[in-house]
């Protein structure tokens, strides 16, 4: 049991090796041993790891779950799984079958793996301080029910999810009750539901990720002290699709993110004490949809370019601060040349209010009549909330794009 | 040459042409006379196919003119008011008409020369006076040597000199045996030319007879007088 450091053994597995199967190798292995699996095709059903070992693939050996099994189950701390191609896990509506599942472990490392056609991809429950990096996860299942999440973390802490590429799952990355963790430099695209699904998870950061073409964008809900920096949210299209859906979020930072070509870049509901700065909103349908339940949200130095509607809202909210942003639709002037427009900018257009109430009215957008309505509204505001305004609109971009 | 049978045309409540039947042989010069709104122009336009009659038939050289346009290459028409594309010069208009008519035979440039268009060829149509436009219309009507000439108020708006030139031209063409159909208010001008008189009133043809017969019947030499006599007789008969 207590093998000394430096004394750990290496066990080779492969067609031309003495040991042909991974299961056999693991049964021979001691704690801290390394099981080196050579390239080849392994159909061994469920591989169960209950010892602290390093399981390393050479030349990307394939582990096939034959559409029946969970391929790797880990129930020991400090296990490393590195360099496998893991394909065809089973599917179940009762159990969360995964390509690699970590049960109540800490310090595990899952890296450099390729997962293809798994139900769930990499799954942790009650994990602590695990590192999941450089994996490529692809699923091509068409229905949400038949599809699990790419990287799924439940009740975990201090997780690091780094540089993974996730495609075609139900949710790309799923966080529920996960704290003090970081999601960094991942690319999550074309997932059926959310690129990132994030609930009841406090004090996490996600930085420099790309979320693109996801069915419903990214959803961040019921969490506080979340930091979202430099992420890209692109081309998330549909009625329920948002660059980010923010619901019941408090004390969070949204900084330097890019929102491009989303139906709605950010939808906010019940967001409070959140600071949004230096974000770029470009060519979205709606840049911001702010529900009246949001308060003390600070928006500064954000850039709004080419959005169909800058801000949409369902009420006459005044509890948020919109001062000091750059709006390409601003038509005011700056007589004292201090870089700040002398007239306030009202980002909520009359027609966005009409469309909010009656979505099919979108079919009349850009017509002569709607332009007239918008112009009249600018002179005599009746429908749009009068106090929702940027009183210090920037005349120039606050930073280079 | 031209024969109309039972031509009727109604504009709303107004009967513009009421069952008119008439035959115009070649070589005649027919004066189409009648008060304003009697249907003269409508009748001319029916012959030209510009007005489609409600009933009746018009034959041109024995052929029904309905749904045909080629017979019009044998007609020269001078409208009451001639208006042309405003930005074109006289020269261009003349060229255009030659181009459109695609005329094979020789062109008749008499009026072009007599009206002295040479110096006006570069004038744009919109700068022209009404009289000059009339001259253009007249020149165009005669240009293609048509067998039939239909002249609607030809001398209205022309100065006496031009009027005289046109009259001489009409006489000349008549002598060539062409059929000439003229409407005019200024009856005195027609005395020397006219061989037949067709009188219309309220869309009806009141009479159509040789001018000499008319002169004989009324004992008047001048067309205007003869017509006046007829009109008086008519009123007289109305009272009776």
């Amino acid at each position: 049991m207590y093998s000394l450091p430096g004394m750990c053994g290496i066990i080779h597995v492969g067609k031309s090796e003495k040991i042909k199967t991974i299961k056999e190798a693991i049964s021979h292995a001691n704690e801290r041993d390394t099981v080196l699996v050579h390239g080849g095709y392994y159909k061994e059903g469920n591989i169960f790891i209950s010892k602290k070992i390093v399981l390393k693939g050479i030349d990307l050996p394939t582990l096939d779950g034959e559409n029946k099994y969970q391929i790797i189950s880990v129930k020991a701390n400090g296990v490393v799984i590195d360099g496998f191609k893991i394909v065809h896990s089973g599917t179940s509506s009762l159990e969360d079958i995964a390509g690699i599942k970590l049960y109540d472990v800490r310090d595990a490392v899952v890296q450099n793996n390729v997962l293809d056609d798994t139900f769930f991809g990499i799954y942790t429950q009650r994990g602590i301080n695990c590192l999941i990096q450089n994996n490529v996860l692809t699923s091509a299942r068409k229905q949400e029910q038949a599809s699990g999440n790419g990287i799924h973390c439940w009740k975990s802490d201090s997780m690091r999810i780094i540089n993974n590429t996730i495609k075609g799952h139900r949710d790309g990355i799923y966080f529920e009750f996960v704290t003090n963790s970081v999601i960094w430099r991942n690319v999550s695209t074309s997932n059926l539901r959310y690129g990132l699904h994030f609930m009841f998870s406090n004090s996490d950061s996600y930085i420099s990720n790309i979320f693109r073409y996801n069915g419903a964008g990214v959803s961040v809900m019921f969490s506080h002290h979340v930091k979202m920096f430099n992420n890209y949210f692109e081309e998330n299209w549909g009625d329920g699709a948002y660059g980010i859906l923010l619901k019941e979020i408090a004390d969070s930072y949204i900084d330097g993110n890019h929102f491009i070509k989303n139906t709605s870049a950010i939808y906010m509901e019940g967001v409070s004490r959140t600071i949004m700065v230096k974000n770029v909103f470009r060519n979205n349908g709606w840049a911001l949809k702010i529900q009246a339940s949001c308060m003390e949200t600070e928006l500064h130095n954000n850039v709004f370019l080419g959005n169909t509607f800058d801000v949409g809202t369902n009420g006459s909210l005044v509890l948020n601060n919109f001062d000091g942003n750059y709006w390409d639709k601003y038509e005011g002037y700056d007589l004292n040349k201090n870089g700040i427009g002398d007239l306030p900018y009202r980002p909520v257009s009359m027609y966005s209010m009409i469309v909010e109430r009656n979505p099919p009215a979108m079919i009349l957008f850009h017509s002569f009549m709607t332009s007239l309505l918008d112009k009249t509204e600018k002179v005599l505001p009746t429908l749009t909330p009068e106090n929702l305004a940027d009183t210090k609109p920037l005349m120039k971009l606050p930073f280079h794009l | 040459m031209i024969s109309a049978t039972n031509i009727s045309k109604q504009f709303g409540k107004l009967k513009a042409l009421d069952n008119i039947s008439v035959t115009y042989p070649a070589g005649e010069c027919i004066a189409l006379i009648g008060p304003n709104g009697s249907g003269k122009t409508t009748f001319i336009k029916s012959i030209l196919g510009m007005v489609v009659p409600d009933s009746g038939k018009i034959l041109f050289k024995g052929k029904d003119i309905a749904h045909d346009c080629h017979y019009r290459s044998d007609i020269g028409y001078m409208p009451q008011i001639g208006r042309y594309p405003e930005n074109m010069t006289i020269g261009q208009v003349l060229e255009m008409m030659k181009d459109i008519r695609n005329h094979r035979g020789s062109l008749d440039d008499d009026l072009v020369n007599d009206f002295n268009f040479k110096s006006l060829l570069n004038k744009r149509m919109r700068t022209l006076s009404g009289g000059t436009r009339q001259k253009v219309s007249a020149a165009l009507a005669f240009m293609f040597n048509p067998e039939v000439l239909i002249l609607d108020e030809p001398t209205a708006g022309l100065d006496p000199v031009a009027s005289e030139i046109l009259k001489q031209k009409i006489v000349k063409e008549k002598e060539k045996g062409k059929l000439i159909l003229i409407t005019s208010h200024v009856l005195s001008e027609l005395d020397d030319i006219v061989t037949q008189v067709m009188y219309m009133q309220d869309g009806k043809m009141i009479f159509y007879k040789p001018f000499d017969l008319l002169q004989f019947e009324t004992g008047e030499n001048k067309l205007s007088k003869a017509i006046a006599t007829i009109m008086q007789q008519n009123q007289f008969s109305d009272i009776l």
Partner: protein, 255 residues
């Protein structure tokens, strides 16, 4: 007929109005593209011109031209020419002139500054709307004898297509907001060529906003190849129908 077209086009092109129209389009398009640092705003302004100015100028100028050419048309009719050819010649002449004017006035700036899908869609819609409103003008002019009344009617028609129709649609949208009216709306929009054109451009320009549930219904129709073809066919009908009706009318018209 070629000759008639030739003479009408030369006549119209010499007309100061069509020349100033071309110059106006050219000036405004260049201004739009060189002043706006962001091309979306430029396209938006150009869109307004295409949807408002182009139909207005086309319909009014064509109507006036036809009325002013009444005697010229009479002259042509008295010549050995088929009426159908005269009328089609007039149509082709007017439509051709407006197409050329728009191609020069808006096409050159678009190709220089905004050779994108949106730009080309605006160009296509502009040309189609020019032709459609020439056809509508010809129908109005052939139906109404009185010039003043005819011009009045065409202004009303323009007002109807560019403003009143959309007002009615908005009213209907709110009246029937409890019902799924997205699909009937597509049918309704087909009744107005300006709306069809606008939606086709909208789909290229505001595609993100249109991807919402409702928009997706529109996108599913207009965005697909079949929908595009249908829309362009309907636009073609908007050209052909008024033209054919006016042609029949003109063939029997008393001049």
């Amino acid at each position: 007929m070629k000759k008639i077209i030739k003479y009408i086009i030369t006549d119209i092109l010499r007309n100061k109005i069509i020349l100033s129209y071309t110059a106006f389009l050219l000036a405004i398009s260049f201004t739009i593209f060189s002043l706006e640092d962001n091309s979306t705003k430029g396209l938006l302004s150009l869109l307004n011109i295409v949807l408002i100015i182009v139909p207005l100028i086309s319909i009014i100028f064509s109507t006036i031209y036809i009325y002013n050419s009444a005697e010229f048309i009479e002259l042509l009719v008295s010549q050995p020419l088929q009426r159908k050819k005269i009328w089609l010649g007039l149509f082709t002449g007017l439509a051709g002139s407006f197409t050329i004017a728009f191609l020069i006035g808006a096409g050159i700036p678009i190709i220089l500054f905004e050779a994108t899908a949106v730009g080309f869609m605006i160009l296509a819609v502009g040309i189609l709307l020019s032709i459609i409103f020439v056809a509508i003008a010809m129908l109005a002019a052939v139906k109404i004898r009185d010039k003043a009344k005819g011009i009045g009617v065409t202004i009303l028609l323009w007002l109807y297509f560019s403003l009143l129709f959309d007002g009615i649609v908005l009213f209907l949208l709110f009246q029937f907001s409890d019902y799924p009216i997205e699909k009937p709306m597509i049918g309704v929009s087909m009744l107005n060529p300006i709306d069809i054109g606008r939606i086709l451009i909208l789909l290229k320009m505001d595609v993100s906003a249109l991807m919402g549930y409702t928009g997706a219904v529109f996108k599913d129709f207009f965005g697909t190849t079949a929908g595009m073809i249908t829309s362009f066919l309907v636009l073609a009908m908007w050209m052909i129908c008024p033209l054919l009706i006016s042609l029949r009318k003109f063939d029997r018209k008393d001049l």
